[in-house]
Symmetry: C2
Subunit: 260 residues, 2 copies
Amino acid sequence: MRNLKLILSYDGADFAGWQVQPGRSTVQGTLASAIGRLTGENVLPQGSGRTDAGVHALAQVASFATASTIPAENWLRALNDILPASVRVLEATEAAPEFHARKSARGKTYRYRIHRGTICPPFLARYVWHYPYPLEESAMVAAAHVVVGEHDFTSFAAVDPERVERMEAVDNANATSVAPTNVRTIFSSEWIREDEEFVYAVRGTGFLHHMVRNLVGTFLLIGKGTVSTEDFRRILKACDRSAAGPTAPAAGLYLVNVEY
Amino acid sequence: MRNLKLILSYDGADFAGWQVQPGRSTVQGTLASAIGRLTGENVLPQGSGRTDAGVHALAQVASFATASTIPAENWLRALNDILPASVRVLEATEAAPEFHARKSARGKTYRYRIHRGTICPPFLARYVWHYPYPLEESAMVAAAHVVVGEHDFTSFAAVDPERVERMEAVDNANATSVAPTNVRTIFSSEWIREDEEFVYAVRGTGFLHHMVRNLVGTFLLIGKGTVSTEDFRRILKACDRSAAGPTAPAAGLYLVNVEY
């Protein structure tokens, strides 16, 4: 058996998220079908983590074992010929036998795009969150660093029955059988103006379910003036989801890359 | 009664074209419903011309008569609140009583985007034609001017029962009851490289149904080396649709603006 690594980009608007679900169109399921058509194998490719319905990927990573003898360099074109245009394979390479897209991940970068113009161009409607209302952007820029470092991000974790299972437990690679934790390390966190867009870029060891969208929703309260940077620190320390702001919509979120 | 003029942008991928059709989602029908919700009136807004299913607009123009007393400056926000995100009103202004979006038009500009990269980003799949195969682009650049001037464009007109009715008969404003003609004047015609895209930009008095897509499909034959610039001139003079190349896909086409 060989171990293959794929780098994928996809338009999340067309899918009910990454993870395979019966009767729904998902990225993992679509990719599994394409691999099946190519090799005749019944393979479930593992992603670096799940993305929710509507969330996009610039460079998601997936890995899977295969008995196929197709050379790695031919996989790219062959899969892209089968996959819908909303999913593209950007790279296909041979990986070491121990490589696992999720367990081997050491870091991830996400971006969240907010469109600040009065009118959002129709061609961006699927790809940004349109928020044309007043925001003190400089306050958000100044507060962005608050999450940098090692913290328990329970305040920003989705409260749902799937939470533990859904956690992108990058840490699991080292901590084999300890209980799942909500502690993550954020390496960088910035709000950046890019023409008509206000963009949040965050890089860390891993992210809990809904974590980036909940951070964005809470930073927005700073922009609205209802929460201060000090309040934000308290929200983080509270380890209580109800202390933080609402979840920002999925459409603005991009998985930018995964580090190994 | 007042006469209102709207400038609209829309993502054609979500619609079965501009023109209202029973049981299908169209831009004209969607706009008519929004106007109806706002004013209670049963109004069919007139566009500068029809766009086909999948064809986009950066600045389509529509006009309609209304008895509503809503000030023109309030229409923009009110309609955008009702319309889906795939259609945006960019401007709403009071027009002279004799203004008619189609009959008053004096010129139009279209762009056609071909994506030349090996892999088309999934976020562009709805917005370009992905054509990664070899093309002698310089030959297409050199041949672009051939259509400039006044010509009978029958070779590039859709052969369909709707053809005459569908013609964007800009000329009709002056020529009240003469038979429809396939003669149009092209002011400029260019192929331009823009990073990974090869773009056709064309401006003229008006365009027949499928005319831009048929021009693009025929220019492509020049890029493939199967047709020369001289052949292209002969195809134009032939006034025979079967002499020209295939119709390029709708997704790459944009109505850029309308001149009055």
